[in-house]
């Protein structure tokens, strides 16, 4: 394809680079979202639903954990921790109840994969949860769903009801002797509850504030009992691994980042949406196949995995989007939320808004994050309004440095990321706001409808 010049200044990828979507994409979780009533048990079963569970129940729990470990599946919620290893950390024979808690509190700015997944295919999560609970010997599992997505809550309620009725939940599941109760729990609006220990406090009916670790949730999690906390997509990927085999899973992606995953393309692109592909695809490939940036515009900056992952520019179009590739380029794969902004977007405005978000969502427990995010917002608002000083730029960096790595949880690190990375790539743009006494950008030009009137007129 030759569209690349439209959105990037870097050289073309090597000739012969495969760019046909049929070869580059691999819909697994999303394979039947276009079918009528895709969220129902009937449709799920027609696509081999609950077949992975049968295979899992035929194994011993320890063999099952080993199998998931060998598949190489890594957490899809941001940190990329090996899923099988998390399960293995649960102490066995300790006489305490064990819990599985699925983190469905998808709130990281830019992230929009778990919500469409649960809306169109909730049974993949439920099947994965039954498998996981068999492995870790748990008889009560929870889905902590953020509250602000009622359409998804409706379908989860219905899918859980169907699963109980069909004997995939409840007592003696498929004759295996496994009993499992599943509770769907709606949150109440707090980004911090996506942090796993804050989520556990919230699920215990408290303010969502992170806990000191150790002890880790695997030892003392929900009600101080051994607990696995996994992201929706991680658990939903397990049934396919069991059904189609770990070799099949490892045939996609790379040695250290095997498998398929959901990439969420958003912003000033021609066709925003969900693209499920083997790990390691590049943004250039995704843009090539999907129509590039919106017509007549160029990519300016983007996030590989939500606002908490350091931003990239058009220099990074060929970075393989897997855990190692993105890490080596100075960012994190995160949630694979590819928010793309074109040249009409003011980076100071973007970073100011993200920082306001972190200040709003800071839980207040630790000083660096609570105070630091507050002062970052004051400085950024001044700069955006043309009232900043050159010395403010170093001050921003300094405050971000006092938050990063010094906060109680990763929310603080996330708040520092856009500051560091935008100053690294766009310091001149900050300086323009200061010397020019204001923002040089017209926000009207970056709206979704900015070019529409010209086309229609």
């Amino acid at each position: 394809m030759t569209l690349s010049t439209q959105y990037g200044s870097t050289s073309q990828p090597e000739a012969g680079g495969e760019s046909s979507p049929e070869k580059l994409l691999a819909p697994v979780l999303s394979a039947f979202w276009d079918e009528e009533k895709s969220w129902t048990l009937d449709v799920y079963r027609r696509h081999d639903g609950y077949e992975g569970l049968r295979k899992a129940l035929a194994m011993s729990p320890d063999d099952l954990i080993a199998y998931v470990k060998e598949s190489g599946l890594r957490g899809r919620g941001g940190a990329g921790f090996p899923t099988g290893m998390k399960w293995q950390f649960i102490p066995q024979g300790d006489g305490k109840p064990h819990y599985l808690v699925v983190n469905a509190d998808e709130s990281e700015p830019g992230t929009c994969k778990d919500i469409p997944l649960l809306f169109a295919n909730p049974h993949s999560l439920i099947e994965g949860m039954v498998i996981a609970c068999y492995a870790i010997r748990s008889s009560h599992a929870f889905i902590y769903l953020r509250g602000e997505v009622v359409p998804v809550l409706r379908r989860l309620h219905e899918a859980v009801r169907e699963a109980y009725e069909a004997g995939y939940l409840g007592e003696n599941i498929l004759g295996s002797g496994l009993d499992l109760q599943l509770t769907v729990h709606a949150g109440a609006g707090a980004y911090i509850c996506g942090e796993e220990t804050a989520l556990l406090d919230s699920l215990e009916g408290r303010r969502g504030q992170p806990r000191l670790r150790p002890p880790f949730p695997a030892v003392a999690g929900l009600y101080a009992c051994p607990t696995v906390v996994n992201n929706v997509e991680s658990i939903a990927s397990v049934p396919a691994i069991l059904h189609k085999g770990k070799e099949w899973f490892r045939s996609m992606g790379s040695e250290k980042s095997p498998g398929f995953t959901l990439y969420s393309l958003s912003g000033h692109v021609a066709n925003p949406g969900q693209y499920e592909a083997p790990l390691g695809i590049t943004l250039r490939q995704l843009l090539d196949m999907s129509g590039g940036m919106r017509p007549g515009h160029r990519l300016k900056f983007w996030t590989p995995g939500g606002s908490s992952t350091p931003m990239f520019t058009d220099e990074h179009l060929d970075v393989p989007l897997d855990y190692e590739g993105v890490g080596a380029a100075g960012s994190m794969l995160g949630t694979k939320a590819l928010q793309c902004f074109d040249e009409t977007t003011c980076v100071v405005r973007a970073v100011t808004r993200w920082t306001e978000f972190y200040a709003h969502e800071s839980c207040g427990k630790c000083t660096p994050c609570r105070e630091g995010t507050y002062w970052l917002v004051q400085l950024l608002r001044d700069i955006e309004a043309g009232k900043g000083l050159m010395s403010d730029l170093d001050k921003l960096n300094d405050i971000a440095d006092n938050i990063n790595g010094k906060s109680f949880c990763a929310l603080g690190d996330g708040a520092a990321s856009p500051i560091f990375s935008s100053l690294k790539y766009f310091r001149e743009e900050y300086e323009q706001h200061i010397t020019g006494r204001g923002c040089p950008f017209d926000p009207a030009k970056s709206t979704a409808w900015a070019d529409r009137t010209e086309v229609n007129a």
């Binding site: 979507p21 049929e22 691999a26 819909p27 999303s30 394979a31 979202w33 276009d34 009528e36 895709s38 969220w39 709130s107 990281e108 700015p109 992230t111 929009c112 469409p116 809306f119 953020r146 509250g147 602000e148 009622v150 359409p151 809550l153 409706r154 509770t183 729990h185 709606a186 949150g187 109440a188 609006g189 980004y191 215990e204 009916g205 303010r207 969502g208 059904h243 085999g245 393309l265 066709n271 925003p272 949406g273 969900q274 693209y275 499920e276 196949m289 999907s290 129509g291 939320a337 928010q339 902004f341 405005r349 993200w354 978000f357 709003h360 709206t447 979704a448 409808w449 529409r452 229609n456």
Partner: protein, 281 residues
């Protein structure tokens, strides 16, 4: 701080205990609460759903509601208040039947969310967190709602209104004020805020057709799948509720209903996810 303006000057005196619910209301809520508490190994876990439940009774979390939660769970009202004030979905003053939330986190803001929020404030004559005089609409700006591929996004009672424009958002709130039945892009035909809060407390929506409303997936959710199936390169999507031209179609159509026939299915060996499937059998 401890008194409302109607109670006159604050003397720094603490509140008297909140009044209880009327007996019939309390009996009904207690039955619901027992059901909620039974879902958890530890009763305190029921606090968030119970706060949603009392919000479904009065439209916001009142001192009476918090007292109820405290009594049911054996907590102090201070413990309940600490939790109720931490989470942004609990409203602490009377509000409208329809909560209109405009996403103004970075991506939606840049794509037009800021313009939409500003226009709606002018159009409705209310500021952030304020309610129209008729008690119909409460307007607020919200944080990222996990729908960035549908930006700019507006939520009404936590149902998705995707790909909004200034004009479509104004029409939307006009419809709400006029009492018309409004259907989201993704989600069920709107119910009131109180009804929504009951679903959040964990009581399934029992309206016929509510679960299947709006189809399997939104258009953006299907874009990658279509490409992978070798279906025609996606056309530039102009959403019915958006669009410069005022086509007044309140019911967004899913592309799946009028797309070209699919030439491969997931079970077809030609399908990318198909052939390798047998390996692991």
């Amino acid at each position: 701080m401890t008194t409302t303006p109607s109670e006159g000057v604050s003397l720094g005196m603490p509140h008297l205990p909140a009044p209880d619910y009327p007996d019939d209301v309390r009996a009904r809520l207690e039955a619901d609460a027992r059901e909620v508490v039974a879902r958890y190994p530890d009763s305190r876990s029921a606090l968030l759903p119970l706060l949603h439940l009392v919000q479904s009774e009065e439209g916001h979390v009142t001192r009476t509601g918090m007292r109820f939660c405290a009594e049911v769970l054996g907590l102090t009202t201070a413990e309940v208040t600490a939790v109720a004030t931490f989470y942004s979905m609990y409203r602490r003053k009377p509000s409208g039947d329809y909560q209109v939330g405009v996403c103004t986190n970075t991506l939606c803001a840049v794509m037009g969310g800021d313009a939409i929020f500003e226009a709606l404030q002018d159009h409705l004559g209310v500021g952030n967190g304020e309610t129209t005089e008729d008690g119909k609409v409460t307007l607020e700006h919200i944080e990222c709602n996990a729908a960035c591929d549908f930006a700019p996004v507006v939520m009404v009672n936590w149902e998705f209104f995707d790909n909004q424009t200034v004009d479509s958002a104004k029409r939307l709130v006009d419809d709400l004020v006029a009492g018309a039945q409004v259907e989201p892009t993704r989600g069920a035909p709107l119910c009131t805020f109180k009804d929504t809060a009951r679903i959040l407390a964990g009581f399934p929506d029992e309206r016929a057709g509510a679960v299947e409303a709006s189809g399997s997936a939104g258009h953006a959710s299907l874009i990658g799948l279509r490409l992978a199936k070798g279906e025609a390169a996606p056309a530039r999507v102009v959403h019915p509720r958006g669009g410069g031209a005022p086509q007044d179609q309140p019911h967004p159509e899913h592309l799946s209903s009028h797309d070209a026939p699919q030439d491969t299915s997931a079970s077809d060996p030609a399908h990318p996810a198909g052939p390798v499937a047998e390996e692991g059998e």
